[in-house]
């Protein structure tokens, strides 16, 4: 009885050991076969899924029938269910949008008594705006996407690496009427740089001679784009005022350091303020701000990339 029961176990064991020995002996062949099968499966899957998107089963010709060059939709248009094609974001030939969440790292920016930290909220705002812009087909680059703190020049350098760029900087103030937003553009001094440089006395020559070169200095990179930035900021401010009643009617021209070296239309948006009692008040402002940015940029730079803003490259 015991022997009869043991015989199948012995046979199974023997078979198992034989299988292992066979695998070891023919390991190279087995590995090759498995690799081929895996490669076949991997290459076959995308084809079938793409085919499914481009030509639904209902539109494919039946087996045995001759295939024609007629597009599938014309060949057999289903009356009630049009083919489901995945929405593709529009390809935008317009400017690169550089989004700049201010501060970062050890520079926290403004801090509220209720734990609101500017650097964190502006990063959230930048990410949501990036998503909204990318959905519209814009190419978006961020000056930081973590808790780092690039210098002003590093941020400008990221923007200036592109020929056609719009620079948008995000801030949250420590003062101001809560639930309002302001748009800023860089305002240079109306007195030309070095036109009346510091003199030791009235009869001596200026210490710094007036610039005669036509090259654009890094420190003055924003100057040729002043009008374009002003117009973009005005459009943005009008949109923000609609979304956040109480915001100022027009954009403000302020010497915001972060905008000075950007060689393209550049605006800063500042929300008020970190002193709110509930952080969610500011979080709720983020999405409308992102929408306002998308609308404003689309209004000034329609798809196709041709500048609607004078002064842009």
């Amino acid at each position: 009885m015991l022997n009869r029961q043991r015989i199948p176990f012995l046979a199974a064991g023997h078979f198992f050991i034989s299988a292992i020995l066979f695998c070891v002996r023919n390991s190279f062949s087995l590995v090759a076969i498995i690799s081929l099968a895996t490669a076949f499966v991997l290459t076959a899957r995308p084809r079938s899924s793409t085919a499914g998107l481009q030509a639904p089963a209902s539109t494919l010709p039946a087996q045995g029938q001759p295939t024609t060059n007629v597009p599938p939709q014309q060949a057999a248009p289903p009356p009630s269910a049009p083919p489901q094609v995945a929405p593709q974001p529009p390809v935008h030939n317009g400017p690169v949008i550089v989004i700049d969440p201010a501060h970062g790292g050890t520079d926290t920016g403004a801090r509220g008594q209720n734990g609101v930290i500017e650097k964190d909220l502006v990063l959230l705002m930048a990410r949501i705006t990036r998503y909204a812009l990318e959905r519209e087909g814009f190419r978006v680059v961020m000056t930081r996407n973590d808790d780092s703190n690039p210098s002003y020049d590093d941020r400008a350098a990221i923007a200036n690496a592109y020929r056609d760029v719009i620079f948008v900087s995000f801030h949250i103030s420590s003062t101001g009427t809560p639930n309002t937003a302001r748009a800023y553009f860089y305002k240079f001094s109306e007195t030309p740089p070095n036109a009346s440089a510091i003199t030791t006395n009235a009869n001596t020559l200026p210490i710094t001679p007036a610039k005669t070169t036509s090259l654009l200095g890094w420190e003055e990179a924003q100057r040729p784009f002043g009008d374009a930035s002003h117009r973009l900021a005005d459009i943005l401010q009008a949109d923000l005022t609609l979304r956040f009643p109480g915001s100022s009617a027009a954009a403000s021209g302020v010497a915001v350091r972060g905008l000075r070296s950007a060689a393209g239309p550049a605006v800063a948006i500042e929300l008020s303020n970190v002193a709110v009692s509930d952080r969610n008040q500011l979080v709720e402002m983020v999405e409308p701000v992102a929408t306002a940015v998308v609308h404003s940029i689309t209004a000034t730079r329609p798809s196709g990339g041709q500048s609607g803003v004078p002064g842009t490259r």
Binding site: A110, G176, T177, E190, T191, S196, A255
Partner: protein, 212 residues
């Protein structure tokens, strides 16, 4: 009891008595220090404070620009004895702007800020040198920094004639920004041609008030 020991005990008792008497006045001084903490900036201000007005200075109405809400500044009429010398006059009005705000929420510059120096170049460029407190204690933000600069600009524009532009230094040095946003490497226009037109106010105007 030996005589030496008696003398020693007497001296020690006397020392303890003197200590107890002086302890009271020492305690009073410490309490006074706690009540009136004097920061380094305030001590410097006391040291640097020149006579803000001379007997010959004429008392006149000045316009000092303080905050008139969370996001705007407005002039307040203040009667001040002003020097005819534009440098002294500029210091007087800036000191008034810093030290004499009608209310705490109307302050645009930190209370600890000090005007360390003020210079006017022949071309009308004004250079205002402030202490470190201006940069370190101004609330961070474009709006608050803009209001601080605008209050300095507007106060100078309205009280010191002949200035064309303003350069702000911190402790004698050019700094990149005031408190992280507003660029201090350049100049600020005073009485710019564009501001003469009614469509370009210096900052959100608000009804003016009278302080004194």
């Amino acid at each position: 009891m030996p005589r030496n020991l008696k003398i020693t005990l007497a001296i020690l008792s006397l020392a303890v008595l003197i200590g107890l008497i002086s302890l009271r006045s020492l305690h009073r001084r410490i309490t006074g220090l706690k009540e009136n903490p004097t920061s380094e900036e305030q001590a410097r201000r006391d040291l640097l404070a020149t006579t803000t007005s001379a007997p010959t200075d004429a008392r006149m109405q000045t316009k000092i620009f303080w905050a008139a809400g969370p996001d705007k500044i407005a002039p307040v009429q203040v009667a001040l004895a002003l020097s005819p010398d534009p440098v002294k006059r500029a210091k007087q009005v800036l000191n008034e702007l810093i030290t004499d705000a009608p209310a705490a929420d109307q302050r645009t510059l930190p209370a600890d800020a000090v005007v360390l120096g003020f210079y006017i170049l022949p071309d009308g460029t004004a250079i205002a040198d402030f202490s470190e407190a201006l940069a370190s204690e101004t609330p961070s933000g474009i709006l608050s920094e803009q209001m601080a600069v605008d209050s300095i600009k507007s106060t100078l524009e309205n009280n010191v004639p002949g200035l064309s532009r303003l350069k702000i230094l911190i402790h004698g040095q050019e700094v990149e920004t005031l408190a992280g946003h507003v660029d201090l490497t350049g100049f600020f226009d005073l009485n710019p041609p564009s501001a003469q037109s009614p469509s370009a106010p210096a900052s959100n105007p608000a009804p003016s008030g009278t302080k004194k």
